[in-house]
C-alpha cells in the first residue's frame, strides 16, 4: 500500500508546474501524508505529527490566507488521526469570518468538524453565520445553512431563527430544503424555540418541490412520533403523497434503480404506521395505498425490500385488516427464506415484531429459525434469540433458555451480555418449571453476567426469594434448594466468581441457612469466613458476607469472636464498624434477638428513616453549641458563594458526589426538602449493609417497565387454552402446513426435535401433535400482591403520605406518577363513566332523596323517559331571566350538586325561553350546565340544544333534546367538556331550537367563553414526588410576576390568591420558595416553582405539554392583576 503511495507521490512533482503557488501549498500536505505512510510504528507517527503540529503553530502565527486553507486541511487530517490541533480552532473561525468564498468553505468545514455544539468558540461564529445568511451570494447562504444544521449553539437559536424562516420562501429549492432541515435540527435540540413556526412546516410539506417536501417529512416523522394524535388530520395528505409517489407521478430524476423515490416512500410508510396505530378510522384511509405499495414493490432490488419491510411493519402496526395481513405474512416469508443474509436478518426482525400479534407465523418458519440459530453470523444469532425470547412460554422455556445461555458463553460483547442476561433472568422468573432449574439457571445468569449485570437482576431475585408466594412450604423448598446449591458452589473454587454472585449467595445463606438442618451452621460460617479471606473479594462484597455472618452467628460465639477480632484491625472502616457490631451482638444474646429476630417476616421490619430517635442527641449537641446540620448541596452552595469568581479549577477537586448534587439541585428546587430528611453517608451505608429491608426497598422491577410488561401480555394468550379453542382453525391450518414436510434425514431429525421443543405451546393445535403433552403449567413464581405495589414502585407509599391532604385528592394522588398511562386510560374511563351513568339510576338517586320537590322532579323525569330533569318552578318563579338567582343551582341534578361550581350566568333570552349557564368542576372534565327556562305559560315542544366548540371535546352530554318543556319550568342539559390542547380562552357557540306551535320552529343562539382556568385541577403530590416529577418534565417557562406585597407573608398570600383563582395545589412553602402543582383536567401536569425575588415573584413552570405553562402563566398574571 505505502509503496503505491510512494510511487504516486514520486510521480507527482513532474506533473506540477512547480512554479505555481498551488503546487507549493499542496506539497506540504503531500509531504505529511507521504511521511506518515512511510512510518512503521505508532511512536514514529506520534513524533512526526507533533513536529508537524508545531510547524503549523508557527505558520498560523504569521498569517497568510492562501496558506491558511492548506493548514486547515492538514489540521483536519491530524485531528482525524486523533491528535489535538485545538490551536487551529480559532483560526478556522477566523477563516470563515474573513475569507473569500473558498476560504469560507474550508473554514466552515473545519469548524463543523472541530467543534461540538457546546463549544464556547462557536459563539464567535454566530455573527458570521448571520451575515452569510443575509448575503446575496447564494453560495454563502448555502454554506451558512449547512453549518447551522451541523453545529449551532442552542442559546443563539433565536438570533438566527427569523433568517431561517425567510429562507423557507427562498426561490432556490436547495436553499429551502436546507432551511427545513436546519429547522428540524433546531426542533431536536430546542423544541420550545420553534413552537410558533409549525404552520411553516405545513407550508414546507406542501412545497411545490418534492425535495423540500421530502425534507419536511423528517420533521413530521419526529413530531408524529411524539404525539400522533395532533397530526391525524394530515393522514389524508400523506396518503395522497404516497399514492402519487408509488404511482410514478414524480419526475424520473427521483427514481433510484427504477424505483420512484424509495427513501421518500420509506419515510411516508413510517409516518403512516405511526398515525394508524390503534386508530381504526385513520387506518382505513391507508389500506388501499399500503396494498398498492406492496403490489408495486416487485422484488428485484435491495431498495424495494427496504420499502416492503416498512410496508409490512406498517401493516402490522395499524389497525389490522385480514387481507393485508395475509399479504404481509407472505412477504415476511419471502424475507426469512431469502438466501440474502441481509434480508433474512430483516425477516427475523419482522418476525420478532409480528409474533406479538400473531405467534403462529413463527411456527410456519420454525425450521428457518433453527437454521438461523446455528448461523455463523453473530448478528443473526442475536436476532434469532430475540425472536425466541418473544415466543417463550412455560413449555419451551428450558430449551430457549439453554440456547440463550449457550450463546452467552461464547459471547464477548459486553452490551449483548447485559442485554441477554436480563432476558434470561426474566424468563426464568416467569416460566421456571421447577425449583432446581430456576436456581441453576439463575446461578448461570450470575456467573455469566458477572458484574456487568444490572443491579435489578440480583435485587429481583432476592426479592422473589424473600417475599415468596402464597404457600410457605413451597417458598421454603425453593430457599432450601438455593442454600444447598450455594453451599455446593462455595465448597468448590469460589475465587473466580463475580462479586454480584457472591453477594447474592451470602445474603441467601445468611437468611436461610438455618432451613438446612443437615448441614452444621459452623460449616456455613467456615465457608463464608473462607470467602472473606480471599483477595479477589471486593470490600463491598465483604460487607455483604459479614452481615450474612452476623445473621447466622447465633450461638457460635467462639468462631465469631475470632472473626471479629481479626477484622477489627481492617483498613476498611465500614468493615471495622460491622466487626464491632458483630462482637457486641454475639456477646449479648438478648440484644441479638431484638435486632435480628429469626424467621420474622421481612416486611414487618420497621425502619425509622427520619432517624427521629436521634433527636435528643441532636438537640443536646445543638445546645452545647454544635453547628446545625446542613444538607450537602447547601454546603456546596456556600462553597460556591465563597468562590464565586474562580469556580472552575476548584470544582474539580470536590468529590464527585457533591458536584453532581449541585447539578441536580439546579434542576430541582425541591431537593432541599428531600435531602434534608436524610443524614450523612455513614448511616446510609451501614443500613444498606445491615438490613435486608433497605436493600430491597424501592427496587424497580425489570418487568415492571412498560415495554416488557406489554410484550409479556401479548405473548401470553397463545398459551391460554380457552383462546386457542376460540380460533382453532387458523392454528390447525398452520399445523397442516407443517405436516407435508419431506421425510427428514437424521440430521434434520435433530432439528425437528429441537423445533418441536422450541415452538411448543405457540399454536395450540400444532403443538399438541408435535409434543403430545398439552399441560401448560401456571407461572411458577407468583409474587404476593403488596398493598402499595399498585402504584408504581418509585412512588410507593404515596397514598399513605398524602391521605391526609384535601378530600378531593384521593383520586389524583395515586395517578400522579402514572401520567403516561393516564393519558391513554383516563379520557376513556371518563367517557365511559359518563355515558354509562344509567338514566334510571339518576332517577333512582333522586327518588331516594327525601325532599318532596326532588321527589316530584324525579317522578316527572321518569314519566318523560328519564332523558332530562324538569323542575316545576315552585321555588323558581323568576320572570326576569337576566337577574339570575343563585337558586338556580338548586336545580342541578343530585349527582352534580356536590361538585364545586361557578355562579350561574345568563346567556341569552327571548320571549319564550331564557338560557343561563353554570360551570361545574369535575376532576376529569368541565361540566357546562345549560339551564333552559320556559318563561311562558304554554308548553314548548321539541326543544333541542346544539353546542359547538372547536377547541374542546365533548365527552358526554345529557338532556340536550326534550319533547316538551312545560310552562314556567326549567330543564337542565349538561355537557362534559374536555380540553386536550391548552388554550387560554375558548369560546363556544350554540343554538336552541324549539317549537311554540306545531310546525313553527324558532331558534335561539347563544355563545360564551370558557377560560383554561376552568380546566385546571389541583394536582396533589408530596414534595418528594414533586421533585421527581419536576426532573422528568421537559418544557419550561420562566417569568416574573407581581407579588402581593400588602400582607405580612407576601408569598403565602400570593400563592393563596392564585390557588383561589386557579384551583392550584400548594404543595409546600419553604422559606422564600413555594411549590405548586396542577394539571389540565386529569391529563398533563404542570408544576410551578415560585421564588420571592425582591418585589417580584419569579415563577418557573414545567410541564410535559409545551403550551400548558404559557397558558397557566397567563391566568396567573390575570389573577394577580385582578387581585
Amino acid at each position: 500500500m505505502s509503496d503505491v503511495v510512494e510511487k504516486t507521490l514520486s510521480a507527482l512533482p513532474g506533473l506540477f508546474d512547480s512554479q505555481t503557488g498551488a503546487a507549493r501549498i499542496t506539497s506540504r500536505l503531500r509531504q505529511l501524508v507521504k511521511s506518515i505512510t512511510e512510518l512503521t510504528s505508532k511512536n514514529e507517527e506520534e513524533s512526526l505529527i507533533k513536529q508537524e503540529l508545531s510547524s503549523m503553530k508557527e505558520q498560523v502565527s504569521s498569517p497568510n490566507t492562501s496558506m491558511m486553507r492548506e493548514i486547515m486541511v492538514r489540521a483536519m487530517y491530524c485531528e482525524m488521526l486523533g491528535y489535538d490541533a485545538s490551536f487551529t480552532y480559532i483560526h478556522a473561525i477566523k477563516l470563515a469570518q474573513q475569507g473569500g468564498v473558498l476560504e469560507k468553505r474550508v473554514g466552515y468545514l473545519a469548524v463543523s468538524l472541530f467543534l461540538n455544539e457546546g463549544h464556547e468558540l462557536l459563539l464567535l461564529l454566530v455573527n458570521t453565520v448571520l451575515k452569510d445568511l443575509q448575503s446575496t451570494n447564494v453560495i454563502e447562504a448555502y454554506m451558512a445553512l449547512t453549518v447551522v444544521a451541523q453545529v449551532f449553539p442552542k442559546d443563539m437559536i433565536p438570533a438566527v431563527l427569523p433568517l431561517l424562516e425567510d429562507k423557507l420562501s427562498y426561490p432556490k429549492e436547495i436553499i429551502r430544503r436546507k432551511a427545513v432541515l436546519a429547522l428540524y435540527k433546531f426542533y431536536l435540540i430546542a423544541p420550545n424555540q420553534v413552537q410558533h413556526i409549525h404552520a411553516k412546516f405545513r407550508k414546507a410539506l406542501c412545497d411545490r418541490d418534492p425535495g423540500v417536501m421530502t425534507s419536511s417529512l423528517h420533521i413530521y416523522l419526529q413530531l408524529i412520533t411524539e404525539s400522533p394524535d395532533d397530526y391525524k388530520d394530515l393522514t389524508g395528505s400523506f396518503v395522497t403523497i404516497l399514492k402519487q409517489v408509488v404511482g410514478g407521478k414524480l419526475p424520473v430524476d427521483f427514481n433510484y434503480h427504477n424505483v420512484p423515490a424509495p427513501w421518500l416512500q420509506i419515510q411516508l410508510l413510517r409516518i403512516l404506521s405511526l398515525l394508524g396505530k390503534e386508530d381504526r378510522s385513520t387506518s382505513e384511509l391507508m389500506y388501499e395505498v399500503l396494498d398498492e405499495s406492496l403490489r408495486r414493490a416487485e422484488m428485484n432490488h435491495n431498495i424495494t425490500y427496504a420499502i416492503l419491510y416498512e410496508c409490512v411493519k406498517a401493516i402490522y402496526t395499524i389497525h389490522p385488516k385480514a387481507e393485508l395481513l395475509e399479504k404481509a405474512a407472505r412477504c415476511i416469508g419471502n424475507f426469512v427464506l431469502s438466501p440474502k443474509i441481509n434480508l433474512r436478518y430483516l425477516g427475523l426482525k419482522a418476525l420478532t415484531y409480528v409474533v406479538q400479534h400473531d405467534a403462529k407465523l413463527a411456527l410456519q418458519h420454525q425450521m428457518t429459525i433453527i437454521e438461523c440459530l446455528d448461523h455463523t453470523d453473530f448478528t443473526i444469532k442475536r436476532e434469532t434469540l430475540e425472536l425466541l425470547f418473544r415466543i417463550t412460554n412455560a413449555q419451551n422455556v428450558t430449551v430457549i433458555v439453554e440456547k440463550m445461555l449457550d450463546f452467552l458463553h461464547g459471547c464477548s460483547d459486553e452490551h449483548t451480555i447485559i442485554h441477554l442476561v436480563g432476558k434470561v433472568a426474566e424468563l426464568a422468573e416467569k416460566f421456571a418449571p421447577d425449583n432446581s432449574w430456576f436456581i441453576q439457571t439463575m446461578n448461570d445468569v450470575f456467573s455469566t453476567g458477572g458484574d456487568l449485570l444490572q443491579q435489578d437482576v440480583p435485587n429481583n431475585f432476592l426479592r422473589l426469594l424473600a417475599e415468596g408466594s402464597e404457600s410457605k412450604e413451597e417458598d421454603d423448598q425453593l430457599r432450601l434448594y438455593a442454600v444447598n446449591s450455594y453451599l455446593t458452589v462455595l465448597k468448590g473454587d469460589a475465587s473466580h466468581l463475580p462479586q454480584r454472585f457472591l453477594q447474592v449467595m451470602s445474603w441467601v445463606l445468611g437468611e436461610y441457612a438455618h432451613l438446612q438442618e443437615s448441614v452444621d451452621q459452623r460449616e456455613v460460617i467456615r465457608l463464608l469466613t473462607q470467602l472473606l479471606d480471599q483477595r479477589s473479594v471486593s470490600s463491598e462484597t465483604r460487607v455483604w458476607i459479614l452481615s450474612a455472618l452476623t445473621k447466622i452467628s447465633e450461638g457460635q460465639t467462639d468462631l465469631i469472636l475470632d472473626l471479629a477480632e481479626s477484622l477489627s484491625s481492617s483498613q476498611d472502616t465500614v468493615l471495622r464498624q460491622q466487626a464491632q457490631e458483630l462482637r457486641q451482638l454475639s456477646q449479648d444474646s438478648q440484644l441479638y434477638e431484638w435486632v435480628l429476630p429469626r424467621g420474622a417476616p421481612w416486611d414487618s421490619m420497621e425502619v425509622d428513616s427520619s432517624l427521629s430517635f436521634l433527636d435528643g442527641f441532636v438537640s443536646e449537641a445543638l445546645a452545647a453549641g454544635a453547628a446545625p446540620y446542613k444538607p450537602p448541596h447547601q454546603r456546596q452552595e456556600e462553597l460556591c458563594e465563597d468562590r464565586a469568581l474562580n469556580l472552575e479549577p476548584y470544582s474539580f477537586s470536590l468529590p464527585v458526589s457533591l458536584s453532581s448534587c449541585s447539578i441536580t439541585d439546579r434542576q430541582s428546587p425541591t431537593l432541599l426538602s428531600v435531602s434534608s430528611g436524610l443524614s450523612g453517608n455513614s448511616t446510609e451505608l451501614s443500613q444498606k449493609a445491615g438490613s435486608s429491608t433497605l436493600i430491597l426497598e424501592g427496587v424497580k422491577r425489570v418487568w415492571g417497565r412498560d415495554g416488557y410488561l406489554r410484550q409479556n401480555e401479548t405473548t401470553a394468550p397463545p398459551v391460554d387454552e380457552p383462546s386457542a379453542a376460540v380460533q382453532p382453525s387458523g392454528q390447525q391450518e398452520a399445523a397442516e402446513r407443517l405436516e407435508p414436510q419431506p421425510e427428514p434425514s437424521t440430521q434434520n431429525q435433530d432439528k425437528l426435535q429441537l423445533a418441536s421443543s422450541l415452538f411448543v405451546g405457540l399454536g395450540a393445535g400444532s403443538s399438541m401433535s408435535l409434543l403430545g403433552k398439552s399441560e401448560a403449567p401456571p407461572p411458577r413464581f407468583r409474587k404476593k400482591p403488596r398493598p402499595h405495589e399498585s402504584s408504581s414502585s418509585s412512588s410507593s407509599g404515596t397514598s399513605e403520605r398524602s391521605s391526609d391532604s384535601s378530600s378531593r385528592s384521593s383520586h389524583s394522588t395515586t395517578d400522579s406518577f402514572l401520567y403516561g398511562s393516564l393519558l391513554e386510560e383516563e379520557p376513556a374511563t371518563s367517557i365511559s363513566a359518563f355515558s354509562h351513568t344509567p338514566k334510571s339510576s339518576t332517577a333512582n338517586g333522586l327518588a331516594q332523596n327525601k325532599d318532596t320537590k326532588e321527589d316530584r322532579r324525579a317522578n316527572t323525569s321518569q314519566i318523560l323517559g328519564g332523558d332530562m330533569v324538569i323542575v316545576r318552578p315552585n321555588t323558581f318563579q323568576d320572570k326576569h331571566p337576566s337577574l339570575v338567582s343563585s337558586d338556580l343551582t338548586a336545580l342541578l341534578p343530585a349527582d352534580l350538586k356536590d361538585l364545586p361550581h361557578s355562579d350561574v350566568i345568563s346567556l341569552t333570552s327571548d320571549p319564550s325561553l331564557s338560557l343561563s349557564s353554570c360551570r361545574l368542576f369535575r376532576d376529569e372534565a368541565l361540566l357546562l350546565v345549560i339551564l333552559i327556562s320556559n318563561c311562558t305559560e304554554t308548553v314548548i315542544k321539541d326543544v333541542a340544544v346544539q353546542l359547538t366548540c372547536e377547541e374542546l371535546e365533548t365527552a358526554s352530554l345529557r338532556g340536550n333534546v326534550m319533547n316538551c318543556l312545560e310552562g314556567n319550568s326549567t330543564s337542565v342539559c349538561h355537557y362534559a367538556l374536555l380540553m386536550d390542547e391548552p388554550h387560554t380562552n375558548v369560546s363556544f357557540t350554540g343554538t336552541v331550537s324549539y317549537q311554540t306551535q306545531p310546525g313553527h320552529t324558532n331558534t335561539l343562539s347563544f355563545s360564551g367563553t370558557l377560560s383554561a382556568a376552568d380546566f385546571i385541577r389541583p394536582l396533589v403530590v408530596s414534595t418528594e414526588e414533586y421533585g421527581k416529577l419536576w426532573l422528568s418534565l421537559s418544557h419550561d417557562v420562566k417569568q416574573n410576576l407581581k407579588l402581593l406585597t400588602d400582607a405580612s407573608d407576601p408569598l403565602r398570600t400570593t400563592l393563596n390568591a392564585l390557588k383561589d383563582a386557579l384551583q392550584l395545589h400548594v404543595v409546600d412553602i419553604i422559606g422564600s420558595e413555594g411549590i405548586v402543582a396542577c394539571r389540565l383536567l386529569s391529563g398533563a401536569p404542570c408544576l410551578l416553582h415560585c421564588r420571592v425575588n425582591g418585589a417580584a415573584l419569579a415563577m418557573w413552570l414545567r410541564s410535559p405539554h409545551p403550551a400548558l405553562p404559557d397558558c397557566i402563566l397567563y391566568h396567573c398574571q390575570r389573577a394577580l392583576a385582578q387581585h
Partner: protein, 207 residues
Amino acid sequence: MIKAILIFNNHGKPRLIRFYQYFLNMQLQIKHLCTNKMAEDMQQQIIRETFHLVSKRDDNVCNFLEGGSLIGGSDYKLIYRHYATLYFVFCVDSSESELGILDLIQVFVETLDKCFENVCELDLIFHMDKVHYILQEVVMGGMVLETNMNEIVAQVELQNRMEKSEGGLSGAPARAVSAVKNMNLPEIPRNINIGDINIKVPSLSPF
C-alpha cells in the same frame, strides 16, 4: 438520524470521520468535566472499537451490527459496506431504515466514483476536504439531504467550478492522481495489485 460516518481502511486507518453527535463517555457526562479533548478521545475509541467489530466479520455475513457498548444502547446500529480496501460504516439510530442506509452508502460511493473518476483510497487521503464536501451534499447534520446521484454531482461540480476559477487548492493533485492512474506505469512492481486499491463499485445484481 445518522450519528456518525466512519471510513477506514483494512488496517483500521481512518480515512474520513464525521460525527453528527458527540459521544461522551458515560462517566464524564457531567458537563463541566467533559472537554472537547475528551470527546475526541472518545471518538478515537469508537473508531477503534468499530474497526475491531467490523473487521472481524466475513464478507458473507449481514451488513448490520447492533450497538456496541461504546456507541451505546440498543437503539444504535452499525450499517457498513466493505469495498476493496475501505470500510464505509454508518452509525444510525432506529429511525433509519437498514436497507435504506445500505443503499445510501452505495449512492455515496457511486458519487465518489463519479467525482473522482474511479475512486481509490488515495483520493480519499489527498482530497479529504473534497470528500467532506461531497458528503455534505448527501448527509447534512445527520439527516439525509439528497439521494439523487446526479443532483449531488451537479452540486459538487458547481462548487468545483467556483474553485477552479479561483485556482483551487486541490485541483492539481486531482489531476495528478488521475494522471498516475491512467499512466499504467510499467515500473510498478508486480506484487502490488493495483486493481486492489480501486474501490470496485459492484454493479448491483438483480435479485
